[in-house]
């Protein structure tokens, strides 16, 4: 055995190799292989119900770029992201600030805000679907109390995306909040003591001490939530099915439709997936750069 495994410099290397092997195998089979496979079929006319496939070069991509529905889906995804990410993060940070103290009820509030994050999107979406019902739902009943007659939400093309966005903000609030809380608790107490003697308190403390010290965390949560936003799918599938008139059609749902609805164009869907992936990649890198510049 010792002779056959000469590839390893020492015992530790071989231990590391075998320890990593299982998860590497999983990564290979369920991540890397499908990734490359999807790239390869994006150049073919592969279909879900079709035997075999033909290489058709870039025609899937050409067709995609000419499809106004795809661009509509991309635009909707962008609107969704631009609305959800900053608002949810700003609210989460304020919540974290409010809950970052030792009061009797704070653990209960923290749990309450985190519950929607761990609840399944499918069930939450179902509840909100009912909630948004213009006649029987709670949402418009609440608005009526303050004298506003609410829109028909999910069945009104100009309000449906807003409905999806509002729910997403609520559901994601707790996610960034826990990360912000962890970040806040990481700031050494001494720094606040020093700041207290230097005369920084209230908003000035938040502005000059807390926010700058959380810079890294902001970058992290902004990028992670951008990525998560781009992947929005389940609530659209359950609440609106992309409608009415594609007003809530988002990128992943578009891909899903191409692949799993007639005519089941797997090759075309893969091409769309790769374009979305690249756009998201570029966006995340740009965002990371901007955040780094702000940090300094």
């Amino acid at each position: 055995m010792a002779r056959t495994l000469k590839v390893f410099k020492n015992e530790q290397h071989s231990t590391a190799f075998f320890a990593l092997l299982p998860s590497f195998a999983v990564f290979l089979v369920f991540t890397l292989y499908p990734l490359l496979y999807s790239l390869s079929i994006s150049f073919t006319d592969a279909g879900l119900l079709k035997q075999g496939s033909t290489f058709i070069g870039l025609s899937n991509y050409v067709k995609l770029f000419k499809d106004p529905t795809f661009w509509k889906a991309m635009l909707n995804t962008l609107i969704y992201t631009v609305a959800v990410v900053p608002v949810a993060n700003a609210l989460s940070f304020m919540l974290a600030l409010a809950l970052n103290r030792k009061l009797a009820l704070t653990p209960i509030y923290r749990t309450a805000f985190f519950m929607p994050v761990v609840a399944s999107t499918a069930s939450v979406a179902t509840v909100w679907f009912l909630f948004y019902d213009p006649f029987y739902g709670g949402f418009n009943a609440l608005m009526a109390k303050i004298g506003i007659s609410g829109p028909a939400w999910l069945s009104d093309p100009s309000w449906a995306l807003a409905g999806i966005i509002i729910m997403a903000i609520w559901k994601n609030l707790g996610y960034s909040m826990v990360i912000y809380l962890a970040g806040l608790q990481d700031i050494p107490k001494d720094i606040y003591d020093a700041a207290a003697l230097d005369g920084a308190y209230g908003q000035r403390l938040t502005r000059y001490i807390t926010i700058p010290l959380m810079g890294r965390i902001f970058s992290f949560t902004m990028i992670i939530s951008t990525i998560r936003s781009f992947q929005v799918f389940s609530q659209v599938r359950i609440m609106t099915g992309g409608g009415p008139t594609n007003s809530t059609l988002v990128a992943v749902y578009y891909i899903y439709r191409q692949a799993f609805e007639s005519p089941y164009r797997l090759g075309y869907a893969s091409a769309a997936a790769w374009v979305v992936f690249l756009v998201l990649g570029i966006l995340a890198v740009l965002e990371a750069r901007t955040m780094r510049r702000i940090e300094q």
């Binding site: 720094i191 003591d193 020093a194 700041a195 003697l197 700058p212």
Partner: protein, 367 residues
């Protein structure tokens, strides 16, 4: 008149009593040194004066006003934290300027003050660095600078020189004394280093387990320690403390440790006739024990035969660590021309007019 008064101040953390019934008066423009071993409550005391912690009992007054419910920012106090507590996201300049900016001071004056402090502390070249790019000693000087620029009525300094090398420490000590004289601020200076306490303090307060053991001018604590703890803490190397009993003989009282018998001169200790058999501790400072060869002759000296274990020439004097009869360990600070050598017998002579006696049961000095 920035005097600080603590009346019966107690602070508990759960079951730990960090500070217990502290009565303390820091006079206006005084440099008071708070000294004591680790965990005796020095930092806790400073934090309560600063308003960062509230006392559980008792009250704190600054300029005669009770500080109950007064926020730290309204106390006009600057503190140098034991672990610096610099703002990691600000460069050195802004670390020092921050407090002034919060006061809305004009930028030109801020700059003048920061530059001046940086010059005094020798950190002018570091102004653009972030704290993580500084050494411990540099951080400590920035922390000091941050306090100095504020020109507050009270300075609280928690071991501000502990991380400096010996030379820089001596230099900074002198610099702090000069700053103190020039700006005439009230300073509470915490250290666990008795040398620093002796050299800097106009007055020393020695604490142990949250309780003040003794306070007074440095030489007062050195010459008249009220108990065994103070005797052992003040002075370097520490006082020799030997357990024994008082025994009365036909020519006066003597100290008897079983192996050593040392007569106790009446002119130092008074009559001990009534104390026959009492358990006591005899204390003699190393600097009051000389190599017999160089010691003056005199009635009030005890001569002691011993074997030298360690000989440490310091240049101006030599430290001897010896074992006397029966295994008693003794430290002596002797003339550098001593012929004492490792493993060789040496004869020492102790000046008993400078010796101390403590009641072993109470730990208190016997007068």
């Amino acid at each position: 008149m920035a005097e600080v008064i603590l009346k019966g101040v107690t602070k508990k953390f759960g079951k730990t009593v960090a500070v217990s019934g502290l009565d303390l008066e820091v006079k206006d423009k005084e440099l008071l040194v708070l000294v004591g071993p680790s965990g005796c409550g020095k930092t806790t005391t400073l934090r309560m004066i600063a308003g960062l912690d509230d006392p559980d009992e008792g009250e704190i007054f600054i300029e005669g006003k009770s500080m109950k419910g007064v926020e730290p920012k309204d106390r006009d106090i600057a503190m140098v934290f034991q672990n610096y507590a610099l703002y990691p996201h600000m460069d050195v300049y802004n670390n020092m300027a921050f407090g002034l900016k919060m006061q809305k001071m004009p930028a030109a004056e801020i700059e003048a003050r920061v530059k001046e402090a940086a010059k005094i502390l020798g950190i002018e070249d570091l102004l653009e660095r972030k704290p993580k790019a500084l050494s411990g000693g540099q951080k400590q000087r920035v922390a000091l600078g941050r306090a100095i620029v504020r020109k507050p009525r009270v300075f609280l300094m928690d071991e501000p020189l502990s991380n400096l090398d010996a030379k820089l420490r001596v230099q900074m000590r002198a610099e702090l004394s000069r700053i103190h004289k020039r700006i005439g601020a009230t300073i509470v200076y915490v250290t666990h280093d008795q040398t620093e306490a002796m050299t800097m303090g106009e007055r020393i307060v020695l604490m142990k387990d949250g309780i003040i053991q003794q306070q007074g001018e440095p030489m007062q604590l050195y010459d008249d320690p009220v108990n065994i703890f103070v005797a052992g803490f003040i002075g370097s190397p520490s006082m020799n403390l030997i357990d024994g009993k008082i025994r009365n003989t036909y020519d006066g009282a003597c100290f008897d440790s079983g192996d050593l018998t040392i007569s106790l001169p009446e002119k130092r200790f008074g009559s001990l006739a009534s104390r026959d058999g009492l358990d006591v501790v005899l204390g003699i400072r190393p600097e009051h024990i000389e190599d017999a060869e160089f010691a003056p002759m005199g009635a009030d000296r005890a001569v002691l035969g011993a074997t030298a274990d360690v000989v440490e020439p310091m240049g101006s004097e030599t430290l001897l660590y010896v074992t006397a009869k029966g295994g008693t360990q003794v430290t002596a600070k002797v003339n550098p021309s001593t012929k004492a050598a490792f493993g060789k017998p040496v004869t020492l002579s102790a000046d008993l007019t400078k010796a101390h006696l403590f009641d072993r049961a109470t730990g208190l000095a016997m007068k």
